[in-house]
């Protein structure tokens, strides 16, 4: 375990976006192979899955050979590689209504690695100093300290990179103008951090200040949470950035992609609008029918790998998202530059099972 820990920590401190893909793949494959062995030894469910479906104990020569777990399995099964008394935090996904949430069990080591990972990624754009922080959310989110929702965990995680957090939404998701104006009067003249979920930033911040002449030009906006609701409103990432910029002077806007199953391994947007997995994480894009790895330029299902989790077997996850690798080792950041296309569209249910429930859901 200590060998593994050292190996993971080394990767955690590697240049974030400075490893050429070939070098990164070699280091990451070695770490993920060690993690696979670790979880096989520590998690009986994972061992059974890899024995029956993943070829058992076998050498892993490339990233694409690392066995994966479909992301939905955390909604139905308890996948954990530590003793219960070592659990320090349980993360749950917000999920859609009626669906069971994902449950992710963290111990101190995994939580520490996640925090460190997030810190390295965020300071990459924020700098080492903790900036005053605007949170586009409500303070009520952080009530239960033991079981955070993904949203709560996200906000809490980001709060460590800001100072004097100001929550600008009330419990009804209405913008608190007085709080916003107060914050800007105090901190608006120098760089400050804005954090929120993409949809909330658009609907509850931007939506409430259109035409009001609010100056956010010193802000650095970091946002995440998916584009589904915005795509429905015909707002894509370029539109999002352009409209916010035109309205408020906000220029430094960074989207990131992450999931509760791999907290810390976020893919932060570069200046080119593409997302970059850090040194200790990566994506493999797979053909949605054959699950064979597809080359850059071809869209497919996103498999996300991360060298962070030792407390649960989440180092290789097959997501429900479609994405594409736009290029590799080009531009300022090395490694894979990816674009997330969005959630796989839900098929219409066929057959004679529970059409009532399915329709009610649709």
């Amino acid at each position: 375990m200590s060998d593994l820990a050292t190996q993971l920590d080394d990767l955690l401190e590697a240049p974030l976006y400075g490893l050429p893909q070939a070098d990164k793949a070699v280091r990451l494959t070695r770490a993920l192979a060690a993690l696979t062995a670790h979880h096989r030894a520590a998690c009986p469910a994972y061992r059974r899955l890899t024995d029956v479906l993943g070829g058992g104990a076998r050498p892993l020569a490339t990233l694409a050979e690392v066995p994966w777990i479909p992301v939905g399995l955390w909604k139905s099964h308890r996948l954990i590689s530590i003793a219960d008394d070592a659990i320090s935090t349980t993360l749950t996904s917000s999920g859609t209504t009626g669906q069971a949430p994902s449950r992710i069990y963290l111990d101190k080591d995994t939580a520490r690695r996640q925090s460190r990972a997030l810190a390295r990624i965020m300071t990459h754009v924020l700098g080492p100093k903790r900036l005053p922080m605007l949170v586009v959310d409500t303070r009520g989110l952080l009530q239960d300290r033991h079981a955070f929702s993904a949203r709560g965990a996200g906000v809490l995680g980001m709060m460590t990179f800001g100072a004097q957090p100001t929550f600008v939404l009330d419990e009804h998701m209405q913008l608190d103008r007085a709080a916003l104006d107060g914050f800007l009067a105090k901190h608006g003249g120098t760089p400050f951090l804005i954090f929120g979920f993409t949809f909330m930033v658009w609907a509850y911040l931007y939506g409430a200040i259109v035409g009001a002449g609010v100056d956010l030009s010193n802000g650095i906006l970091i946002h995440s949470g998916g584009w589904k609701q915005l795509v429905e409103r015909a707002v894509d990432n370029p539109t999002f950035k352009q409209r916010l910029g035109a309205e408020t002077g906000l220029r430094r806007i960074y989207n990131f992609y992450g999931m509760v199953e791999q907290v810390g391994s976020v893919y932060l947007e570069g200046d080119d609008g593409l997302l970059y997995p850090p040194a200790f994480a990566d994506v493999i894009i797979r053909d949605p029918m054959t699950f064979a790895e597809v080359p850059p330029g071809t869209a497919g299902v996103v498999q996300a790998v991360s060298a962070l989790p030792t407390s649960y077997p989440g180092h290789s996850v097959l997501t429900d998202d479609l994405g594409v690798i736009e290029h590799v080792d080009q531009g300022d950041r090395l490694g894979k530059a990816i674009r997330i296309i969005g959630r796989v569209p839900r098929a219409e249910l066929r057959g004679c099972s529970d059409t009532h429930a399915a329709e009610a859901d649709a």
Binding site: V52, P70, V344, P345, E348, G351, S353, D354
Partner: protein, 409 residues
């Protein structure tokens, strides 16, 4: 309260007026000539319809409605006549077919209309090309002169999940036919019927195929190809989500023959899947993958073999502990059993259809006798899993759709 009428004509109409019309219409009698004529026309249209080539389930429906078939059904009906019983229509029958097995509403309606009933059929407001097409063809035929009496006894209406509408129809229906799943049956049952009304409810079911291992191990190539085609139809027509599509394949015989047979049949099936160009939706494919992981953690799965992207076979080393769940999209559990009758301990109420190949009739009957009604309501050859018939879920539907008036003296 207004609803969208689809058959016999498109348009928004008052539900009360529709129900008054149906209930006030002169009653039919079982297997009357005008209905046989309508069905014959309908079948002819379907069997010659280019749309049926794209949707083979329409072909099957067409065959089911051919005059020869219906005349045979009529004769069967007559052979069960008794001098002291007069069989008359139930009256108003309310059909709630599943939203997405596109042809069931027609079978449900057909068996009921043949009995002389007036029928309200609820169609999902979500629509489907196959349902739309069937409604258009039927409306077109019903507009012909001479079919007024049939036309007056049918209303197919579209509405979403509206308990007020369901309740208004239920209050006046003699018989309500609910095609599952379980959640639908539960939801509809909460809506009261008239005190004299009855429910005919079809819950979620599970189905399996029994394969004679020795027969298939030594089957000649052309027969193997035919068998693969038949299995394809059974599995893939409705993304393997129809209740009677097999989800479990049981090799009956010794392990050696089963091993030989498996290596022949699954690749042959995969070849048909590839040739027909069947591709599940991406979400179905991902859903199936997740299901496989869950099945491994929850059940006795010992191995997985993929035969192309649309056929995964999960071998189980015992049936105990195998959950009757299924994601659709090309997945079979696979077991080996020394004899068909050894399935007796495992079969339960949820099991509906046993399709078979290479097994003698006496073994099939033997299993059914041993089960004595604990499960399996249909035993049909491979290729017929999805063929609707008068006998369904343990019921003789023709008998269910009429009332039996007992006249002594």
């Amino acid at each position: 309260m207004n609803v969208v009428m689809r058959v016999p004509a498109r348009g928004v109409q008052s539900l009360a007026a529709i129900l008054d019309g149906l209930i006030g219409a002169p009653r039919g009698e079982p297997f009357s000539e005008d209905i046989l004529e309508l069905c014959h026309e309908f079948a002819t249209r379907l069997l010659n319809d280019p749309v049926s080539r794209v949707h083979p389930e329409l072909m099957t429906l067409g065959f089911f409605m051919r005059k020869t078939e219906l005349v045979r059904m009529k004769r069967e009906f007559e052979t069960t006549a008794r001098p002291d019983v007069l069989r008359v229509p139930q009256g108003l029958v309310f059909h709630l077919p599943p939203a997405n097995v596109d042809t069931i509403f027609m079978y449900s309606w057909l068996l009921s209309v043949l009995a002389g009933n007036a029928n309200v059929v609820r169609l999902s407001s979500r629509g489907s090309p196959v349902v739309d097409h069937l409604c258009d063809v039927l409306s077109d035929l019903l507009a012909r002169p001479g079919l007024e009496s049939v036309r007056d006894r049918v209303a197919m209406i579209e509405y979403g999940h509206d308990d007020a509408i369901t309740g208004a129809i239920s209050a006046r229906a003699a018989l309500r036919v609910i095609w599952g799943g379980d959640a639908t049956v539960d939801a509809i049952r909460r809506v009261p019927l008239a005190p004299s009304g009855r429910d005919l409810a079809f819950a979620d079911r599970w189905s399996l195929v029994a394969l004679g291992a020795k027969t298939i191990a030594w089957l000649e190539e052309t027969a193997l190809a035919t068998l693969a085609e038949q299995l394809y139809n059974d599995l893939y027509w409705f993304d393997q989500l129809g209740c009677s599509s097999p989800r479990l394949a049981v090799w009956v015989g010794d392990a050696e023959s089963a091993a030989l047979a498996r290596e022949r049949l699954w690749p042959a099936l995969a070849a048909v899947v590839a040739r027909r160009g069947y591709r599940p939706e991406v979400s179905t494919r991902l859903g199936r993958e997740l299901f496989i992981y869950r099945a491994v953690l929850d059940g006795p799965v010992v191995s997985r073999t993929d035969y192309g992207p649309a056929l995964a076979v999960l071998r189980v080393d015992r049936l105990e502990g195998l959950r009757r769940e299924h994601p659709g999209g090309g997945l079979l559990f696979e077991a080996v059993a020394p004899s068909l009758v050894s399935l007796e301990r495992w079969v339960d109420r949820k099991d509906q259809t046993l399709t078979y190949v290479g097994l003698p009739r006496h073994e099939l009957v033997g299993l059914a006798e041993r089960l004595a009604g604990r499960g399996i309501d249909r035993i049909v050859p491979v290729g017929q899993a999805l063929s609707m018939a008068r006998f369904w879920d343990g019921l003789d539907l023709t008998a269910q759709f009429v009332r039996h008036v007992h006249i002594v003296g």
